[in-house]
């Protein structure tokens, strides 16, 4: 009777400021507006059965968010997940779905790696790309790369190296769609793409930046979680579609 779906969705535009703890109610209300038979947990304070594998830092864009939805009655996925996508706030869109058969491995096990993209402004792209390329090479060769993560409850030392599977730096001529902070159509931007493991201690894009910057590279103007799945040579096999997202996209390959 019940039916489970795994979906890939986006968190872009204004919705990238919605925090992880607010997501559940945003989705529950969208499901109710779309009048879909989402299942609820038992008990006095029932919760909609919507689960998100991990939290995206507030302010970061994503085209690679995932969720698992359990419905209490069968749905017509194209129609109903389409309706759900429409009823979600602008910026949150469902892009892929997959019905989950019984006995399927946990969603988190399908998301062992993440393809991240960090983008810097156009001001000194050539120089910055070159610098980051060198730093990436050094990081690859290193055995460890410790950075300090500053937290309100105290600093923590993190070794970034074990999480790094792939790294690439290149220059791209189109501005990132996720930010309008930069005038579009201007000069080339420096782009860093990285495949990081999800199954070890958490390493965030900010940690990777810290490992590469040595305090002479500014924070990126945009950070995007592109997709999650399985690391493959030169890229990432996206969890739901099985398609390979290349570390250096074709359009950028020449520049790289």
């Amino acid at each position: 009777m019940s039916q489970r779906f795994r979906i890939r969705w986006t968190k872009e535009g204004r919705t990238r400021f919605v925090s992880a703890r607010d997501l559940t109610s945003v989705w529950e209300r969208a499901l109710r507006r779309a009048d879909l038979p989402i299942a609820y947990s038992e008990g006095f304070t029932p919760h909609a059965k919507v689960s998100f594998p991990d939290a995206l830092p507030v302010g970061v864009s994503s085209t690679g968010e995932y969720a698992e939805l359990t419905f209490a009655a069968p749905i017509l996925p194209v129609r109903d997940l389409g309706a759900l996508s429409t009823s979600l706030p602008a910026g949150m869109d469902i892009t892929t779905y997959l019905e989950v058969p019984d006995g399927a491995p946990k969603l988190a096990r399908m998301l062992r790696a993440t393809l991240w993209e960090l983008v810097w402004p156009a001001s000194d792209a050539a120089e910055l790309t070159e610098l980051l390329r060198r730093r990436c090479e050094e990081l690859r060769r290193a055995d460890q790369a410790e950075v300090i993560r500053h937290r309100p409850d105290g600093d923590r030392t993190i070794d970034v190296r074990p999480a790094v599977l792939e790294l690439a730096t290149f220059t791209r001529t189109t501005a990132p769609a996720q930010t309008r902070a930069e005038p579009t159509g201007s000069d080339a931007h420096t782009v860093l793409r990285a495949v990081l493991r999800n199954d070890g201690p958490t390493v965030r894009p900010t940690d990777l930046h810290a490992a590469l910057s040595r305090e002479d590279v500014a924070p990126p103007i945009a950070t995007v979680r592109i997709a999650q799945g399985e690391a493959v040579p030169d890229g990432l096999r996206e969890a739901l579609s099985g398609e390979v997202e290349r570390l250096v996209p074709d359009v950028d390959a020449e520049a790289a």
Binding site: A73, P89, D124, E127, P220
Partner: protein, 687 residues
């Protein structure tokens, strides 16, 4: 450092002629800049950034050139607190339904964003389009209480206009305030342009018509700068003629030599000597807000709310809301059912709130609650009824509403500890009734009772204060009888006298005195470890009390406090009282004189020229009754006692209690069937 982003330069603030171009009606206007691009890079640096982005379900975005009049509606506190406000949502919907009007919303930025806004030149902005405050025609602000006054000044200043009315020009917005604290706007007199008395629905439309006509006349009139153009003064004169609108600049306060107020008199032709409040007779004609905004981030009330009636005649003498919103006007049960069903569907909220000042008093509350409980039985939608009435009926009602959930906490508000004190405040409940109600509640499975009290009430003696503790102990003993885990919490606040109430003449207790009384209670209950005491900071009422009953001479202290950095005066996180004390010192405002002094019958009050409908003579009579422990019945059920509201406004109670018309009772859709479909089946049936 490589890769440093260029700072996005915020669009420049326009002035003078350029600003005039922005505010022209319709397509003739130049659209003002959006500050989103400048704001967005700053958002990762502030707390709870989602509160500043807008984009909620049911927000309305209208093109700048498609409107003749443009409103920025504001609740002068954080989004978290202000977003659920019904008043703003009602006006937002009414104005946006008008084809010629546009309304957007603004809230107060927290101090972290305010600092960044000032650093980067980003003005107070609307959530919908991130347009600057200075571009709008009307800045409409609700003042539900007095603790948003400094935020209001700050929003004006941050919004690119002068915080002082007399320094604003025709090219600046008109600043209009409404809500309960607008019933004494005198401490804000130099800063606001218009205060609106009473229900906002109809008068918002009247103001919109007035501003639109003015703008048309101005477009059609003399060329720019010719000297014969219509001025800001002309607009204010027209607004002063709208019923319910008070333009403080057109009045002068006169004082006796000893400092007492003599009178506030109009000094402008056409300004009424007594400004009447606006009242809508038939709530059925105003079924708002239907398209309620659904936040994407946490707020204080996340639910679909329906106002089930407006007004209250219980006559609690401390309660300003109950006095100024008379008479009682009920919404019909079938309308409530319809609004709830449509609203829950439209918003996706899983909680419904049935709002009013005393929701259990709706004449048809039992069938309303039954039908809604039937409709949502077996679903995850829960119902809540903010009622603090102390009687068995309230328990029955709560049982009905809690059908889907657990019987956790019930709240009652005896307000005072002793029978005598309750007679003084006209809260007609005897101790034996309260204890009996608590007994029923615990025996029916409720686990936690919260009791609300005040200290610092007029005529209060120490024995009355001790009675609060004793009543708490007695209730707690009952609780223990029915279960060791049962809890009782007594919540005690300091009383603040408010205008337009029988207690408007009463002295307010100093914070030291409140502190002493709270300590007495704490001492008395300390051996009852399961009985919890919650108190507010005794100093909290000081600013509220000063602003509630202050006159125009308090305005410099408001201004000074804001200049010294006072913001968010109601927040524990922001202890602004020392700032206020400094401001009062510097501006020679004598707190004791305004707050701790008893006024006599002859003394003119700063709000005498603002008519809440209540006769001052009746208020005085009721004040005298209070001081001789005499109670007064609710006029919904008993004879009229001539408070003055109904004949004054030529309207009357609209309830199902009177012999006149009877409200039809809607039969339950599902007939209260035992075989209610479960959630999945309900959905599946519709597939």
């Amino acid at each position: 450092m490589l890769g440093t982003a260029r700072t996005v330069i915020a669009p420049a603030r326009l002035d003078g002629a350029e600003r005039a171009e922005v505010r022209r009606p319709g397509a003739a206007a130049t659209a003002p800049p959006s500050y989103w691009d400048a704001l967005e890079p700053l958002l990762p640096r502030v707390k709870k950034p989602a509160q500043y982005v807008g984009g909620e379900h049911n927000q309305v975005v209208t093109g700048w050139g498609s409107a003749e009049t443009r409103w920025l509606l504001c609740y002068p506190d954080t989004y978290e607190v202000g977003q659920p406000n019904q008043g703003i949502q009602i006006l937002y919907e009414i104005l946006n339904e008008r084809p010629t009007a546009l309304a957007e919303r603004a809230y107060a930025p927290w101090t972290d964003l305010e600092a960044l806004q000032r650093e980067h030149g980003i003005p107070t902005f609307s959530l919908e389009s991130h347009r600057p405050l200075w571009a709008f025609d009307v800045f409409g602000v609700t003042l539900p209480h007095e603790l948003g006054h400094t935020n209001l000044l700050n929003l004006l200043d941050l919004g690119g206009i002068s915080h002082r009315s007399d320094r604003r020009t025709i090219d600046d917005p008109i600043v209009v305030v409404g809500g309960h604290a607008a019933y004494n706007p005198e401490p804000l007199a130099p800063f606001i342009d218009v205060a609106v008395m009473g229900d906002g629905e109809q008068v918002a439309i009247d103001i919109d018509d007035c501003v639109r006509a003015f703008k048309r006349d101005r477009e059609a009139g003399a060329p720019w700068g010719s000297g014969t153009q219509l001025t800001r003064h002309d607009l204010l004169v027209r607004l002063a003629a709208v019923e319910g609108c008070y333009v403080p600049a057109f009045y002068e306060a006169r004082y006796h030599e000893d400092g007492r107020l003599r009178q506030v008199v109009p000094i402008q032709k056409g300004a009424p000597s007594l400004v009447p409040k606006r009242t809508i007779q038939d709530l059925e004609e105003w079924q708002y807000p239907r398209k309620q905004l659904v936040p994407m981030t946490e707020t204080v009330h996340e639910r679909f709310s329906v106002e089930i009636f407006r007004g209250c005649t219980r006559g609690c003498r401390f309660c300003q809301a109950g006095m100024i919103t008379r008479p009682v006007r009920e919404r019909r049960p079938e309308t409530i059912q319809k609004l709830v069903e449509e609203g829950v569907k439209d918003t996706g909220f899983n909680e419904v709130g049935l709002l009013s000042l005393s929701s259990a008093d709706h004449s048809a509350i039992a069938p309303i609650a039954r039908d809604l409980a039937d409709t949502y039985e077996g679903t995850v939608t829960s119902l809540s009824l903010p009622s603090t009435r102390v009687d068995a009926f309230n328990v029955t009602l709560s049982n009905e509403l809690a059908r889907n959930g657990r019987r956790t906490g019930l709240t009652f508000a005896p307000e005072a500890g002793s029978d005598r004190m309750r007679a003084v405040i006209n809260k007609m409940v005897r101790e034996e009734d309260l204890l009996q109600t608590a007994e029923i509640a615990f025996s029916e499975g409720w686990r936690h009772i919260k009791l609300y009290f005040m200290v610092g009430l007029p005529t209060e003696r120490d024995e009355d204060v001790l009675a609060i503790a004793e009543l708490g102990i007695k209730t707690y003993e009952l609780a223990r009888k029915h279960g060791k885990a049962n809890k009782v919490t007594i919540s005690v606040g300091g009383f603040v006298p408010k205008p337009h109430t029988p207690f408007q003449w009463a002295p307010q207790d100093s914070p030291e005195e409140i502190k002493r009384k709270l300590t007495m209670i704490r001492q008395t209950i300390k051996h009852h470890s399961g009985l919890k005491l919650r108190t507010n900071d005794p100093e909290e009422g000081v600013i509220e009390g000063l602003l509630a009953r202050g006159d125009r001479r308090v305005a410099p202290a408001v201004e000074r406090a804001w200049q010294l950095g006072a913001r968010f005066d109601g927040w524990h996180e922001m202890p602004t009282l020392p700032t206020w004390r400094q401001a009062m010192d510097e501006t020679d405002v004598d707190l004791a004189w305004f707050s701790y002094r008893e006024r006599d019958e002859k003394e003119a009050l700063p709000w005498d020229h603002l008519d809440s409908g209540l006769e001052k003579s009746w208020l005085w009579e009721d004040w005298e009754d209070a001081r001789s422990d005499k109670q007064l019945d609710d006029c919904r059920w008993s004879a009229c006692y001539d408070c003055g509201v109904c004949p004054g406004l030529s309207i009357e109670h609209d309830t199902g209690y009177s012999g006149g018309f009877q409200l039809p009772v809607l039969p339950s859709n599902l007939g209260g069937s035992q075989a209610l479909p479960t959630t999945p089946e309900r959905y599946a049936a519709g597939d």
